[in-house]
Amino acid sequence: MKTKATAFPYTIWMVIFIVVPLLLVAYFAFTAQVPVEGGLAGETRTVFTIDNISQVGKFAPVLTRSITLAAIATVICLIICYPIAYIISRGGGVYQRTLLMLVMLPMWMNFLLRTYAWMTLLEKNGLINRFFGLFGLGPFEMINTGGAVVLGMVYNYMPFMILPLYSIMTKIEVTTIEAARDLGADGLHVFLRVILPLSIPGVKTGITMVFVPAVSTFIISRMLGGGGYLLIGDLIDLQFLGNAYNPNLGAAISIVLMVLILLCMSIFNQFGDEEEMEGTLL
């Protein structure tokens, strides 16, 4: 295989920051620390094991919950963002830039801060409940629910859905739409037969870019889901920084999650045809 010399630094970069960490994760996942027999107290040695992996099975409900919530959030995101992206893409220069800026602006603020903001809104004594209180309604149980977690995911990952959709939709030329109308297509037909099929690559990218971070998030569920909505991300976090300190198990869960995400994505990519993923934005 012939590679360009200029690609060399990038190859080193990839090896250091992607391949090596991945191998480390795999190493941790398939090893365990056991006490050395007859050795000093606390002295351990590393042994190969698949116990970590098989233990992950215990957390199947957490995995299912993570995938379900992330999937719901992704679908809601798509439904909300598709029309937004379309409107932005059809706008004129200044209008288009302003709307895009508005989409990006929240991303400049700290992720934690934004999620905190939602906490104060959703709380029992939060703004929303106080507003409903004015009409003698509520208080509603909003925070610490699955809905709150989904809301947090939708809110935080929305730009990742809008941007790839927008970038693919701006490539749809006005004359293509005019041609469809000229050939007898009314608004609905134009959408179903031209705009939708042409924006599928963007839909695919958007779904990937929302689903993958959503399925492994841990901050959102902790802040908006209380203790009741432990997600797979929280579980991994606990193994490294929490009380249940066990990096080997944490690595094993990560590996399983990775395989699951890859599976989800490859199944998902079977839908439609094997079009090139040209909606990729980043």
Binding site: A179, A180, D182, L183
Partner: protein, 349 residues
Amino acid sequence: MKDNNIISLKNIAVDYDGERVLNGINLDIRDKEFVTFLGPSGCGKTTTLRIIGGFVDASEGDVFFEGERINDLPPHKRKVNTVFQKYALFPHLNVYENIEFGLKISGVEQAERQTRIREMLELVNLTGFESRNVNQLSGGQQQRVAIARALVNHPKVLLLDEPLGALDLKLRKEMQTELKRIQQSMEITFVYVTHDQEEALTMSDTVIVMKDGNILQTGTPQDIYNEPINAFVADFIGESNIIDGVMLRDYRVEFAGVQFDCVDAGFGIDEDVEVVIRPEDIKVVDPEGAPIVGVVESVIFKGVHYEMTVGAHGFQWMIHSTLSEEEGTKIGMNILPNDIHIMRRTEEA
């Protein structure tokens, strides 16, 4: 329908951002006619086409199709189809599916769709290309898919917006003949937009010359070429020598310091006029006794003829001749009365 007009525009005006791009256009297009809007860019020819297609709303005036007012009819309900400037094929569909698009929407049966698409592919010489991706086709092939995609719906009128602009010269010539053949065999009306005068003259039954949102002249290619209404049309329809002259009386004009007989009348005595002479109508003769004598300044070989620039009476004359003269030679020029076209002075330069 005694007048046989399929499309009529009555007093159509269009404003874009407060600027008037069409200025009260009146015109009738007869059924089965090949009509061409000809003019420089920005003259309003494409806007006129889009008025007919339904993509632009007229600020004033009415559009009639077979005698019915269709101002408020959206494009998808009009019985016209368009071949767009950049083809605008559907990139996610192959050749067959592109042509099928309109038929599917209008609910034509599968079997009939197949026959009609096959006919179309044959008509545009693309049999065997059914499953090709449109992005892999050459410009000329994409062009023909666009034509087939429009014609398969059997429109009463086909609108073509500079469809040959992106093709190279040889292909363009071929497509010109091809389009004329298609128009005649399908017996439908073609409304064609171009800035290429040769294209307009080659294919059209009627040429409509436009400038600055106005129609300057409507007529057969022969009329437009031989009897241009003003110096702009004359200059736009092929190269011309445009010289200031004075109409002495009917059938007598003076220019370049010489008096000539001509075939025009109806001007005032001693009226200032513009005289238009086609480069191929100037005869090169012996300087001895010739009405105009000049010196050859440059000679360019153009294939069929030589293009000579000749200086005489402070004017540079363009002459097309099959014989060439040496640069610096003194030659005589003669012009026959029939080849002298007298125009009233136009206000603008």
